[in-house]
């Protein structure tokens, strides 16, 4: 069995009196696609914020690649090989699609303080930008302002930008929200393709996507993981049915 690339150990997070994450342990293996599901308010997004450095855990350890990352700033965690997308589209609305992706690509070329080179002359950056735009089917929108894209195109851009830093671990927060069937199908195929050889942690409400895409599924309810297993195991788990799927049915 391969070693975990990302693990959380007894992680807690409270906001005032609200104890949102109550001792989560999770191990994401290298190359694994893992979905985190759970009812609204279970703390899925908070979990992602803790891993990606947006929030600091109150207690517990988060380890990425044998290195403790809890409380590190987001850019450090990104440098260590983790990239994420956001539930609410988080792009540069006033810049073109090309510019959005190019900014994401530039990072791994260490160009933050490059004041002397013309960016248009740095060809490998442009090439990688083009290839990512092609991957997420946005080549035709190259010069459109990102803020003027349709909602699903913005979601695709968001994923393209997440991929651009060539991360080993990818966190996707509800990538399919608001997409049509056709777009969802394409996105599933895309995610499957681009996460080849990487680890994926995904939060998604579309159960078809969750069960078809993931190797294993973790169920988060009220800040605690109540089950982890293969899609079949989860489908047949009585606690999960009671706590989550049952709720969905009755609702």
């Amino acid at each position: 069995m391969t070693a975990p690339i990302l693990s959380m150990d007894a992680v807690h997070k409270s906001f005032g009196d609200a104890h949102i994450i109550r001792g989560v342990d999770i191990e994401l293996l290298a190359g694994e696609r893992r979905a985190v599901i759970g009812p609204n308010g279970a703390g899925k997004s908070t979990l992602f914020h803790l891993i990606s450095g947006q929030l600091k855990p109150d207690k517990g350890q988060i380890i990425l690649n044998d290195q403790e990352i809890q409380g590190l700033p987001p850019q450090r965690i990104n440098h260590l090989g983790l990239a994420r997308s956001f539930q609410i589209t988080n792009i540069f609305p006033g810049l073109t699609v090309f510019e959005n992706v190019r900014i994401a690509v530039s990072q791994r070329h260490g160009l933050q303080y490059s004041l002397w080179r013309l960016i248009d002359r740095i060809h490998n950056v442009s090439e990688q930008t083009d290839s990512i735009m092609e991957k997420v089917r946005l080549s035709a929108n190259r010069d459109t302002l990102a803020g003027e894209l349709s909602y699903s195109e913005q979601r695709a851009l968001e994923i393209g930008m997440t991929l651009a830093s060539d991360p080993r671990v990818i966190l996707l927060d509800e990538p399919m929200a608001g997409m049509s069937h056709e777009e969802t199908d394409y996105m599933v195929a895309l995610i499957r393709e681009v996460t080849q050889g990487r680890s994926l942690l995904i939060v998604e409400h579309d159960m078809d996507v969750v069960f078809s895409l993931s190797d294993r599924i973790s169920v988060l309810v009220y800040g605690e993981l109540i089950a982890t297993g293969t899609p079949d195991e989860i489908r047949n788990d009585s606690r999960v049915q009671e706590a989550y799927l049952g709720e969905e049915v009755s609702a």
């Binding site: 700033p73 609305p93 900014i103 791994r108 490059s114 950056v125 830093s165």
Partner: protein, 440 residues
């Protein structure tokens, strides 16, 4: 693109030829315009491009000026640098102080950032008179330009060319930076700094560097000012200068690189010209700023771009009548406003109030304005501005109608709507302008 390049080239050639054409005092005025243009351009790196509104940029202008004076050699000391290189002192010290101030202020964003910059500048303004060795106390410091490179730098013309070369160089450098990877990141910082950090960029370092570069270019502008007047005192740190650069930049337009340059040049010229003509010039400046912010938030640059876009879209023959009518309307409304303001100012002045009291119940004495006598009690004195406003409003209406006809004719042919929308805004603009001025 080709047109704008040609225009910029022509402007540069004209700037180099100016001393041969203009009188000395006008060359001095252009010198001031150039310095203000560089200041606004440097300010806009932070404000327009990185999206961080600084209310304390006078600090870096002043620091640049004093650093340059120190390098110049105060009270007969040796000069540290040959005269043409003196602005380097302003640049270096500006950069370093920007690095320090930027490190603190860019820890926060939005209003909090603005407040920190304001506080730092006010701190400096308060401390400066007490730091005698640095800023020369309340009297300030003065220096002298030494001859260098076979030039005496004694005449205004030499100073003008020194300023021109530095301003063009600094603005050129800043433009070049916008084309580098770092320059693109600055725009992303404005758009969404949160996302930038999750893409692996250190947003704080990026903001600090941008602040420092802006302060560096501002320091050059301050240095050029110090060179041209050979003196400075702590008043340079006043809030007034900080707010002026904000106004100039917004009037010019923050979204276009050349906007602030244009705005600063125009407003500096306006200030020079209007302050000779009337005591109320600051009021007019304020009115212009309010109107621009309300009806033309993209500034002069936005207006120019809208005009060129529409000129491309419609034949000039059809567009000219609209423009002409708009110009007439603007002229009439402006005249109405100016007449009212000047009249009120004279009547409300203390001198006149004394005279009026002496007339003791009789008719108030006439007011001298525009080479004529106006009786405050007469119908014509108040009827004239009303007529001007009504006529201005009528021309606004004419322009709007003309524009609507033009739009309807073209919407049959094309379905594009953006520039129509734009000019539509402009005409409603003039109408609002009318309302605004009547209120005033």
């Amino acid at each position: 693109m080709k047109h704008s390049r040609f225009l910029i080239l022509a402007a540069i050639v004209l700037l180099f030829a100016l001393p041969a054409i203009l009188s000395h005092s006008l060359v001095n005025a252009v010198n001031q315009m150039l310095i203000a243009a560089l200041f606004a351009c440097a300010f806009n790196l932070l404000c327009g491009q990185a999206g961080m509104l600084s209310f304390g940029h006078a600090a870096y202008f002043g620091i640049g000026a004093f650093a340059t004076l120190h390098a110049m050699g105060i009270m007969g000391q040796e000069s540290l640098l040959p005269t043409p290189l003196l602005p380097l002192a302003g640049a270096c010290v500006g950069f370093l102080s920007g690095l320090a101030a930027g490190w603190f202020s860019t820890k926060r964003t939005g209003v909090y950032f603005s407040m920190i910059t304001l506080a730092l500048a006010e701190l400096l303004h308060t401390m400066a008179p007490h730091l005698r060795s640095l800023f020369g106390g309340e009297a300030g410091l003065s220096g002298m330009r030494y001859p260098a490179l076979g030039l005496t730098f004694g005449s205004d013309i030499h100073v003008y060319y020194l300023t021109l070369v530095w301003v063009l160089g600094a603005i050129g450098l800043q433009y070049y930076i916008t084309l580098t990877p770092y320059g693109r990141l600055v725009l992303a910082l404005r758009e969404n700094s949160h996302r930038l950090s999750f893409l692996g960029y250190n947003v704080h370092h990026l903001g600090t560097l941008t602040f420092a570069l802006s302060a560096m270019l501002t320091g050059i502008a301050g240095g050029l000012q110090a060179i041209s007047i050979e003196a400075s005192n702590y008043a340079i740190f006043d809030m007034h200068l900080s707010s002026e650069v904000v106004l100039n930049t917004y009037i010019g337009g923050v979204n276009v690189f050349l906007g602030p340059i244009l705005g600063a040049a125009v407003m500096t010229f306006f200030g020079n010209a209007a302050s000779d003509l009337t005591r109320n010039w600051l009021l007019y400046k304020g009115i212009i700023f309010v109107l621009v912010m309300m009806f033309m938030p993209t500034g002069i640059a936005g207006l120019v771009m809208m005009l060129t876009a529409n000129l491309r879209k419609y034949s000039a023959l059809l567009l000219w009548p609209v423009l002409l009518l708009s110009c007439i309307a603007t002229f009439l409304l402006t005249m109405g406003t100016v007449f009212t303001v000047e009249m009120m100012q004279r009547i409300l002045s203390q001198d006149y109030q004394m005279l009026a009291q002496m007339s003791d119940g009789g008719e108030w004495p006439p007011v001298q304005l525009f080479g004529r006598q106006w009786l405050p009690g007469s119908l014509i004195s108040w009827g004239l501005p009303v007529v001007l406003f009504v006529a201005g409003g009528y021309f606004v209406k004419l322009a709007k109608n003309r524009w609507r006809v033009l739009q309807e004719a073209s919407s049959d042919q094309s379905s594009e709507t953006d520039s129509i929308h734009n000019l539509g805004e402009m005409t409603t603009e003039s109408e609002h302008e009318l309302n605004e001025r009547e209120k005033a």
